[in-house]
């Protein structure tokens, strides 16, 4: 399903206000804004190195109010990897990931070969915690995906999150377009400005 291109598309899903945009902006721009603006849909591009090769990491920041099932389906079918974000301060936000996961499963057929990260964001807001780390881990085990708690605000685990996501791709599916292109191009890694470099 994913297009044969040099792009590697990561789609970020999650309920409204869990910090999807904050995570992405922290990763892409290294900043954190304390403003409160819902996202319609934004896409960020970042050049990364993949095994001595170049490819564009395209991160799609989706809207939290899962209003448009058609758009969600489109994002899923075009995406290579997925970050499912909830807020540790809201059990409801974890609940809302379930239909999204089911949707991914339905469109991709199987999630075995698809890198998926379950992310509990806002780990700095310990006082308001509603979802324990264990519960997040348990959910990740059930979904056979990786798990991490992050904080876009304090820049905790953000870079690691993307690193691990890309690492999952290496581990599980070597036949994806990135690999093919990489072998053909063989570009120098030192040209790259990407923050995320994967070994």
């Amino acid at each position: 399903m994913p297009e044969q291109s040099n792009d590697y598309r990561v789609v970020v899903f999650g309920a409204g206000g869990v910090g999807k945009s904050s995570l992405v902006l922290r990763f892409v721009k290294g900043t954190f804004r304390d403003t409160y603006i819902p996202t319609v849909e934004d896409t960020y591009r970042q050049v990364i190195s993949c095994d001595k090769s170049v490819c564009t990491l395209q991160i799609t920041d989706t809207t939290g109010s899962h209003q448009f099932p058609a758009m969600q389906r489109l994002s899923i079918s075009k995406g290579h990897a997925f970050i499912l974000v909830y807020s540790i301060t809201s059990r409801q936000s974890l609940e809302e990931l379930k239909p999204i996961y089911q949707q991914v499963l339905a469109i991709k057929g199987s999630t075995e070969s698809i890198p998926i990260m379950l992310v509990g964001n806002k780990s700095d807001e310990m006082a308001q915690r509603e979802v324990e780390t264990k519960e997040g881990e348990a959910q990740a085990t059930a979904w056979k995906c990786a798990f991490m708690e992050t904080s876009a605000k304090t820049n905790s685990n953000v870079k690691e999150l993307f690193q691990e996501l890309l690492a999952l791709e290496k581990k599980r599916d070597m036949s994806l377009s990135i690999d093919g292109k990489r072998s053909g191009k063989q570009k120098r890694a030192d040209k790259l400005k990407g923050k995320c470099s994967v070994m």
Binding site: G16, Q67, M71, L74
Partner: protein, 460 residues
């Protein structure tokens, strides 16, 4: 000689005088006779009048009796109607929770309940109006004291409680034997002290909408008279405003899917009003409102006007853009326009409340897809993507129009409807609570009737 002459003339004079006297006496006599006969006729007519008065008294008594009988019959009819309604409510609502299973045949057999009572209600109002007319004219003919009349029936209808109900504004149970209020039209039940907080405007609850969820257009959910706003929209907005608009991320965050689905089902299926004040999570209520608007067969701004709205919003000159927007709003069908006005007024208040962190541009992002939608029922992904970027601008423009402009759609027609409503339906309107805290200042449409909850033994 002269003497004799004088004598003769005086004699003649005397005779003349005597004759005059006689004439006079005769006239007198005649007058006296006339007087006698007149007196006779007078007494005759007086006795006649007496007889007629007795008859009149009888007639009045009879009218009184008839009026009382009619009142009683009407009260009985109403009571029976209400019982039928309650039974229907019970059957339909219980059926959905599976405690009473109704087979399809049973349902169709029971379908007459629905149609019958509706028809009966219509019949009732029309018949009643004509009788009132007649009686009024008769009564005025015989100068009957109108204040005694029963045009305004003051007997409160009995609201028979066969299952526990909750107060819509406060969410607490109404105990048996306590006085409760129930609106005839919107079916809102409340404690007397919570009356002021009932959702306004009062929109007659259509109950059991025959459209499947997600298959109706807005017009299928609105009442026939102004303001044409679906009851669901009024109840959600009223409940949300009642909680004070302090929640950060109002309309951005979403509530539990299941709760939203259940509430929607309850709202559109059963005739009773779900008690939203019992729903803990405010985001489930905002979710319900958004879900309802989003899943209409046609978006609130209609397919036809989708492009005109988007084009108008993107005109670079602000004045021209706003003028075009006004024009396009004018083209909306009335249900859409009224509902939009009600929603925008609410969203403007949400934006004004800083606690929500939802300013106009944030709300526009959330409501763009919800109310603007697309120009086609099933747009392709590219169109969706393009439209999604354009929708918020439209909502932003709508939200920046002045409050007074929007208010006219909800207000002016509101008052008119109010009058109609009072004449036709509302005999028991004790109060029209003015919503002073609300910047809208609706004249209340809520006709609240005193009802006393009484426990009824169904088995008997």
């Amino acid at each position: 000689m002269q003497d004799t002459l004088q004598y003769a003339s005086s004699f003649l004079d005397f005779i003349q005088m005597a004759q005059n006297f006689d004439d006079c006496r005769r006239k007198w006599l005649m007058a006296e006779q006339e007087l006698g006969s007149c007196k006779e006729t007078l007494t005759k007519t007086e006795t006649e009048r007496g007889a007629l008065e007795v008859k009149l008294k009888h007639a009045r008594n009879q009218v009184d009796v008839e009026i009382r009988r009619r009142q009683k019959a009407e009260a009985d009819c109403e009571k029976l109607d209400r019982q039928i309604q309650l039974i229907r409510d019970l059957l339909t609502s219980e059926a959905s929770t599976n405690s009473i299973q109704l087979s399809a045949e049973q349902r169709s057999a029971l379908a007459f309940l629905n149609t019958n009572s509706q028809g009966a209600a219509n019949l009732n109002t029309s018949r009643r109006l004509t009788t009132i007319d007649e009686s009024a004219s008769i009564l005025s003919d015989i100068s009957y004291d109108k204040t005694d009349d029963s045009i305004v029936s003051t007997s409160p209808f009995q609201h028979v409680v066969i299952k526990p109900e909750s107060c819509v504004p406060c969410g607490k149970r109404i105990k048996f034997g306590k006085i409760s209020l129930k609106c005839r039209d919107c079916r809102v039940v409340s404690h007397p002290e919570c009356r002021e907080r009932c959702p306004l405007p009062c929109i007659p609850n259509l109950g059991g909408t025959p459209v499947k969820i997600g298959e109706g257009v807005l017009a299928d959910y609105v009442p026939e008279m102004s303001p044409m706003i679906p009851p669901l929209v009024v109840h959600c907005i009223s409940e949300i405003e009642q909680r004070g608009l302090h929640e950060a991320g109002l309309y951005r965050l979403s509530g539990a899917d299941r709760t939203v689905k259940e509430l929607k089902e309850k709202f559109l299926r059963s005739k009773t009003v779900p008690v939203l004040s019992k729903v803990d999570d405010i985001h489930a209520i905002t979710g319900l409102l958004k879900d309802f608007l989003r899943n209409l067969k046609e978006p609130l701004l209609t397919f036809r006007l989708n492009r005109p709205f988007m084009d108008a919003a993107e005109v670079s000159d602000d004045d021209n853009s706003i003028a075009l927007i006004y024009q396009t709003i004018g083209d909306l069908p009335q249900p859409n326009r009224d509902t939009l006005a009600f929603l925008v007024l609410h969203l403007q208040r949400v934006a004004d409340s800083l606690d929500t962190k939802m300013d106009i541009s944030n709300l526009a992002r959330v409501f763009g897809p919800t109310i603007v939608g697309h120009a086609l029922p099933n747009p392709d992904p590219m169109t969706i993507l393009q439209d999604t970027k354009r929708q918020p601008k439209v909502v932003e423009r709508l939200l920046s129009l002045p409050v007074d402009y929007w208010r006219q759609f909800v207000m002016a027609e509101n008052e008119q409807a109010n009058l109609d409503h009072l004449i036709i339906e509302n005999a028991n309107c004790y109060a029209t609570p003015e919503r002073s805290t609300d910047s809208l200042n609706f004249v209340s449409l809520c006709s609240v009737c005193v009802t006393v909850g009484t426990l009824v033994d169904i088995s008997s």
